[in-house]
Each structure stands twice: as C-alpha cells, then as structure tokens.
C-alpha cells in the first residue's frame, strides 16, 4: 500500500479495510498531528461498540482469557477487536509485545482484529493512543472491543474510566482475604474472574472475593452487583459463562440508564487526558522560552512549582 493521508484512510477504515484500520492505529499510537482531523471524523462514527476492559496482575491469565473470550464472541457471530497492551522499556522506549502468543487460534478469522500496543510511558495500565484505537475499531463496525491492560499492580485503574464493562482477573495463590478487602483494583470490577480454577487453591480465592462482595464494599458503582466467574483454560471452562455475564452487565447498564453515566465518565476522563497532553506538548515546545525563565526562578526558590505552573497556563491562554 502506498502512503495515504489519514483523511483518505478514514472511508476505507469505515468500510472495514484491514490495512487502513491498521495504519490508522499506528497514527493513533504516534499521536501525529496530521491524523487529528481524521480522528475527529472517526469519532463521529463511534458509540456503537461495547467496550470491555480486562485487567489483572502479570501472569494472571489475561491473554489466554481474552483469546478464549474472543473465540466465544465469534462463535456467536459478533465481530471482535482486541487492543492488547504490554509495557514499554523505561530505558530504551522499546517493547516486547507478546500477547499474540496466546492468540494463535484466532489467526485467519477476518472477524477478529488483534492489535498490540506499548504503554509508551503511560502509567495507568493503558497505552498512549489506546482509546483512539478503540474509536477506530468502534467506527469500523466491531461489535465488541476488548482492551487487555498491562499486567497491573493494585492501583492502575484507568481502565474503569475507559470501558463499559471492567473484568478483573485474579489467579489463585496470590494473597489472602485482607488483599481482597483492600482499596484499588478489586473495587473497579463489574465482573471478577478467578482464572486457573483447575488448581486446588482456587476455591479459597473464589471464597475471598465472594466474601468481599458480600461486605458491600464494591457496590459504590450503581445497582449492578459484581459477580465472580471461575474459569479454567486447561479444562476449557467458564468462558461462555463470562461472556454471558458481560452481556448481562451491558443489558443491566442499558436498563438502569447507568450506561449514560459511564459514557459521561469516560468522556470526561478523555477530555482531561487530552487537555493534559496538549498542555504537556506546549510546555515541551516552550522549554527554551518562557519555561526556562520559570525554571530558573524555581531553582532560586523564588517561585513554587504550583505558582510557576499557574503563570505558565495563564500565558498559554493569552497565546492560544
């Protein structure tokens, strides 16, 4: 394929052309200014796909689960796209993206599109450009978009402000009932998956999660009661149940009207994140101008970081 401007790729992507979609995903990732009008146009065609986030600690089985879930979605006739995120090196900026290794069985099905993305310094478990990538898939007619986050710790919860349904994967043997009542990642789950349930200690993990849910700590996100779904890739169990649960959650959000609040929360987070990005880019561009003077004042401690930032933003406003 020869070089095409982003605006010329949009109609092809809307028609489902794989190469055009793939090229736009690259431009989403690079944040190229040339592609901004194209993403504005694509955004007008979004809002139909159901966006499902899959998160959990490294090695909990996210990629395996995503591969099986995608196969189950395909068996039901729906088109599915996967955004699979792995970490970038903090030193070289490079990345090894290995999520496809577990997704071999999906190869060759035109109804499945798998895209690997590197975090590129983004801290909350998502990648830079991940949500523009979701927009591309949504506009291109994929019914469900699965976002597989990086392996997270306890506090990378950005996915809950990016997805309609958040699935948190826990593996057996990684902590006790106190871990289960801590704040953070477990609170954001609409559906809990306990993976590797062929293992003997899985029952305890399931029980800990169910006890946590009975304490009511996870009920802050509306009327839906989070559910626990045991899965086992070895025994090929639980995946259909998980898909059914995701669909039930989607229907519950629509029935209660909570879907509107979720979409508003996603939009708000994206607006703020975009604002931060624009500001950061302008700061960087201005590093040798006004910013250098402010940095010198900071070094002399005649100005605090907060006051310096306030001055800088005021000045950006005048120059906008």
């Amino acid at each position: 394929m020869v070089y095409l401007a982003s605006s010329d790729l949009v109609p092809k992507a809307l028609a489902g052309d794989t190469r055009a979609i793939a090229r736009l995903l690259t431009r989403a990732e690079s944040g190229s200014a040339e592609a901004r009008p194209a993403f504005d146009e694509l955004f007008r065609h979004t809002g139909r796909a159901h966006i499902v986030g899959i998160t959990g600690v490294p090695g909990s089985g996210k990629s395996t689960l995503v591969a099986r879930l995608a196969a189950a979605i395909r068996a039901g006739g729906r088109k599915v796209a996967i955004v699979a995120i792995d970490p970038s090196s903090p030193f070289s900026g490079g990345a090894i993206l290995g999520d496809r290794i577990r997704m071999g069985e999906l190869g060759g099905d035109p109804g499945v599109f798998v895209r690997s993305m590197a975090t590129r310094g983004s801290m909350g478990g998502l990648a830079r450009g991940a949500l523009e990538a979701v927009d591309v898939f949504d506009a291109a007619g994929y019914d469900i978009v699965l976002i597989e986050t990086v392996g997270v710790g306890q506090d990378e919860v950005d996915i809950a402000r990016a997805a309609h349904t958040t699935v948190v994967v826990s593996a057996p043997g990684l902590g006790d009932d106190i871990q289960a009542i801590k704040a953070g990642i477990l609170e954001i789950a609409d559906v809990h998956v306990v993976s590797k349930c062929d293992r003997a200690d899985a029952d305890k993990t399931i029980a800990d999660l169910k006890n946590m849910l009975m304490l009511g700590l996870a009920s802050a996100r509306g009327t839906w009661r989070p559910q626990v779904v045991p899965t086992s890739a070895v025994r090929d169990e639980g995946v259909q149940e998980l898909l059914t649960m995701i669909d039930r959650h989607r229907e519950a959000l629509a029935a209660s009207g909570e879907i509107d609040a979720r979409c508003a929360a996603i939009a708000e987070r994206r607006l703020l994140a975009a604002g931060e990005e624009i500001l950061r880019d302008r700061f960087v561009r201005d590093r040798h101008g006004r910013l250098a003077g402010l940095l010198a004042q900071l070094a002399r401690r005649s100005l605090s970081p907060h006051s310096a930032a306030t001055l800088l933003i005021a000045e950006l406003g005048e120059n906008a």
Partner: protein
C-alpha cells in the same frame, strides 16, 4: 512520557515445525533495547497467520527465524501471502541456518536481508534501521 512519533515495528515469527526459540528471543530483546516495538508471535505459526498478524500490527518488518531447513518453502509462501494482501511494502528479513545458494535464491525472490548464525546483535539492529530508512516514510 514518550515524545510520540512512529517507532519501528517488527514482528518476529517462528514458522512451522521449528521449536528452537532461544535465538529469536535474543533478537527480540536486542531490538527492544534499540527502542523498537517487537511483536513476538510464538512458535508454530503458518506463513499466512504471520502475514495476517503483520498486516493487523502494521509492522515495518517481518523477521523470520528459521532453523528447520524449510526456508525454501516458508519464505516464498510469506512473500506470496503479502502480495495477495496488497502488503508487499512490508519488508521481509530472516535469520538462522541457511545455505549460501539458498540465501541468494531467496534474496532474488524478494527477501530483503538474511543474517546467519554468527551475526553480532548490533548488526541486526543496524540492518533493520537501514532497510526501513531505505523504504522511506509511509
């Protein structure tokens, strides 16, 4: 925070009945440390699966590691599948154990570069950067 911009994207593939993946992991790590995004397919892929993955991932380069002797089958099928997908702007390179005569034949078919078993890692990085630069922006 990353400054953005397009990084070189490479898919590293093992095709067919070839379970030797120590070399391919070293190459993947080397390219990562050179700042590239490296997608590893895992073992036992078909040429068509590799090409479909390469198209979806919008890679600059497909790197095939092959130590099974099946290179005269594998590379032509990859090149043909790329052409069939209108994706022959994706560069194909390879590494492994390949006879000199076969190397010449594969290059004449369209394999861009082949680097054999004694290649220092830095040369692989330089080669990838060179072929992507030679291809130009897209």
């Amino acid at each position: 925070m990353d400054a953005g911009g397009e990084r070189i994207r490479v898919i590293i593939a093992k095709v067919g009945l070839d379970g030797h993946d120590r070399g391919v992991k070293i190459v993947a790590r080397t390219l990562r440390d050179a700042g590239m995004d490296v997608i590893y397919t895992g073992l036992h892929r078909t040429p068509e699966e590799v090409v479909e993955a390469a198209v979806q991932e919008d890679v600059d380069v497909i790197g095939v590691s092959i130590l099974s002797g099946a290179h005269m089958t594998v590379f032509p099928r990859i090149l043909a599948a790329l052409k069939a997908r209108d994706a022959d702007d994706i560069l194909v390179v390879g590494g492994g154990v390949i006879a000199d005569d076969d190397c010449a034949a594969l290059k004449s078919m369209g394999v861009r570069e082949l680097m054999l078993q004694d290649t220092p890692p830095a040369e692989i990085v330089a080669m990838i950067e060179r072929v992507v630069t030679e291809r130009g922006p897209r």
